[in-house]
Symmetry: C2
Subunit: 469 residues, 2 copies
């Protein structure tokens, strides 16, 4: 389209325009700071229109940050970095993003975003292809949970002295679970969702989320009750197993029946979409009831829906128009067949596309918010920095080591690196540890920094590992 140099110049130009426009969109909130936008239907105290502005700014920041792809990095790294920058603006006196950090509504949208991401990834995976990598994924997950847990439990006393035994348990537990969200986005951004390595990584990440959340349930019961019986542990494990196996079996049986049933009420596109999204949301909810992360439920729901086409429902209007045209034009049967097969492929795509469209709205909120929440200020304490650095190294090394279990003929380093990022689940652990009083502010900040570092370090490492192979 353009020569490279022209394009680069125009990028610079447009990047400055983007930044300018974002600043411009922030100005009114400063100028009119005293004006209270008319509230919502509820007349609640929340300034709803201001949250609309936040979302718009977050979406445009996310999209502007995709410039990072020009230097070969996955877009998610751009979103995280832009988030960190936005979250640090208060240091230079701009506090536009301060209320975003504590907004319950933005946190909800972010959580819904990561649920939709995992739902979408589930829809693009299938139980069959997951089963193929089941054994290596399970081994990688187990080692990847045990190694960091044990290493940090035993080494942390030498790095951060003077804490209680429970605190070290919590530190170890915090770093067990790989963030499926981050890794999945990186693999998706790099167009590698469909390799054996990716399936092992995603499979292992889902399994270690499950393992991690079981550990969380056990460890927090220990902290709260002082001890925990083998029976309690068994109940937790049992509930999780019932959900996963039961959910996949019952879901696979129910989904097509639901589709046929509801199509008798109404065959509109809206009905199809309501069914799909409700399926994902209900699974997420049930997962949380048995003590698992909602994202695990969303992923399972996506897996269940993969082979379901909901063919009873209306086509997208484009398809109807094409059909009509084909009838009128009396095309040759070979062309008709080709178009029909395209339509069939996209009939499933149409379902995924709806979830993708929701994702375009919700997912960037999760990643920008994750970045925004990093407290750069915590990094200015040299002690915290060293602590975080050493723990990060342990966290990285132990997960890379787990990659060795990936089996023959698989790029072990890629798998290991793919397991590095900790995210949502780690943050849940850290928050809970802080809430239970076993982590003080310094340890908490250090752990958040570790989680961020594992996340920031993965995309370039993974991109390198994938390119090398």
């Amino acid at each position: 389209m353009y020569s490279a140099s022209y394009q680069d110049k125009s990028i610079l130009k447009w990047f400055s325009v983007v930044c300018g426009l974002i600043l411009l969109s922030i100005v009114p909130s400063v100028v009119f700071a005293s004006t209270d936008g008319s509230g919502g239907a509820s007349g609640a105290a929340t300034n709803i229109p201001l949250i609309f502005l936040w979302i718009a700014v977050i979406l445009m920041l996310a999209k502007a940050s995709s410039l990072i792809e020009r230097v070969g990095q996955p877009a998610v790294l751009g979103e995280l970095l832009v988030g960190v920058a936005a979250g640090s603006l208060y240091l230079v006196g701009l506090d536009f993003f301060e209320p975003v950090k504590t907004s319950e509504i933005i946190h909800f949208l972010a959580e819904l975003g990561v649920v939709i991401l995992l739902f979408q990834i589930g829809m693009e995976s299938s139980v069959k292809s997951m089963m193929k990598v089941g054994i290596p994924a399970f081994i990688v997950a187990c080692i990847g949970v045990i190694l960091p847990f044990v290493a940090i439990y035993f080494l942390a006393p030498y790095i951060i002295g003077g804490l209680s035994a429970n605190a070290y348990l919590f530190l170890g537990a915090t770093l067990t679970a790989t963030s499926v969200g981050i890794t999945a986005r990186v693999l998706k951004d790099l167009g590698r969702s469909d390799t054996t390595e990716s399936r092992i990584i995603i499979g292992a990440a889902v399994i270690d989320d499950v393992l991690g959340l079981i550990i969380l349930a056990v460890v927090s019961a220990m902290v709260m009750q002082g001890s925990v019986s083998a029976g309690d542990v068994l109940i937790i494990v049992f509930k999780a197993a019932v959900f996963l196996v039961g959910g996949l079996l019952i879901g696979a049986w129910l989904a097509p029946r639901f589709g046929r049933g509801f199509s008798k009420i109404n065959t509109g596109v809206g009905m199809k979409f309501a069914l799909i999204i409700s399926f994902g949301l209900v699974f997420s909810y049930i997962a949380s009831l048995v003590g698992l992360a909602p994202i695990v439920g969303a992923f399972a729901a996506g897996l269940v829906l993969t082979p379901v086409y909901f063919e009873q429902f209306s086509n997208p209007p484009f398809v109807d128009d094409l059909h009509e045209m084909m009838k009128k034009e009396k095309l040759s049967s070979s062309v008709t067949k080709k178009i029909d097969s395209l339509i069939e492929t996209h009939s499933h795509r149409h379902m995924v596309e709806f979830v993708e469209h929701l994702g375009h709205f919700f997912i960037p909120i999760f990643f920008i918010l994750t970045g925004i929440q990093v407290k750069i200020a915590a990094l200015w304490d040299f002690k915290v920095l060293v602590m975080a650095g050493i723990i990060t190294i342990i966290a990285v090394v132990t997960k890379v080591a787990a990659g060795v279990a990936a089996g023959k003929g698989v790029k072990k380093l890629t798998v290991g690196i793919g397991m590095i990022p900790r995210g949502e689940v780690g943050l849940i652990f850290a928050n809970m540890g802080k809430g239970l009083g076993v982590m003080d502010d310094t340890v908490f900040s250090a752990m958040v920094v570790v989680i961020m570092l594992t996340t920031l370090v993965t995309p370039p490492l993974l991109a390198m590992a994938l390119k090398r192979s």
Copy 2:
């Protein structure tokens, strides 16, 4: 597909299945009531997975309620009625929906829903076609604001005695603004969005929202300060005018430039969607800054985007596949042209489709929630019922009378009926009146019932008027 009677039987069967499933999805929340689903990334107190369940139930209720279309009523009436039923379940001891009524997050999603609805309607309208009905719409709006305001201000003292002069001002003001949301949904459901009458109704509803919100600003200034100067009124009117005229002109100039600019960063579908939705959200925000309802801003943003195609961005994958097939198959030029023109039509559709997909998620939340918030209990007081009844009649008659101004060759009754429903803006007035202490609980309940009655009465009346013509 099926014979009518078979279909009806199967509807009954499936309706019971739907109800059963919804109840089933509620059961876990009762059984596991003590289990706290693991929180979000923020560790906030909100039970985020429970909100996922609420959304799923709301979406499925909304879709199940579309059965009402079988008896010729628009789907929105079904959503409102199902909402009223859901909101009254506490009367029989089922309190699943009680926390929904006060959830800030659900209110936010509902408000975003009505914003997306108006954005979508704006995208499907155009400034040109709105201008054509500009004069009659403006006259209908003015009369439709003045008549109910004056009638209720002077008649209300005879219906509800003993209130302050300010209270009667507030009662009158509450019933000035037609709810664009409800009317637009009814017209859309009945497939009549594109008639002259519809354009007059929507145009007048937008104008009287603007007028209504100006009155709100003026009346609340009067209540709070005791009086209001002509200068204050002028400033309020001036800000609104600047926003609408300025917004449309500047927006129309900016939108295609933004599109070209951002397409240099990234031509992905995600970028296009982020641009579109951010445009709508920023307009909503700016509208709230100048004291207008966010929905007015969203509608204006939609109007601005109508002629913008963002043709620089990637096509949907389906289109790319079609192009490739067309190249391979070497179709006749007439067929190629036909397919190309279909693609061009759907290139704009693709943009609207994204907003529609978001709408499938958000819009039902608004209408179900509106229904849920109706307090059936307030209707059991005979005095309240009579008061509400009389005020409703005044509210209906004055708006129908305003329809006479629609001009020659237009179905005046249709226009008048289309103006009846009061909604979001009326509820904002009522809430503010309650907050300022000029409406007590009884008057407030009566006004909410009036707003609901105008809303419930419109769909069947409008459907009748449209069928008659």
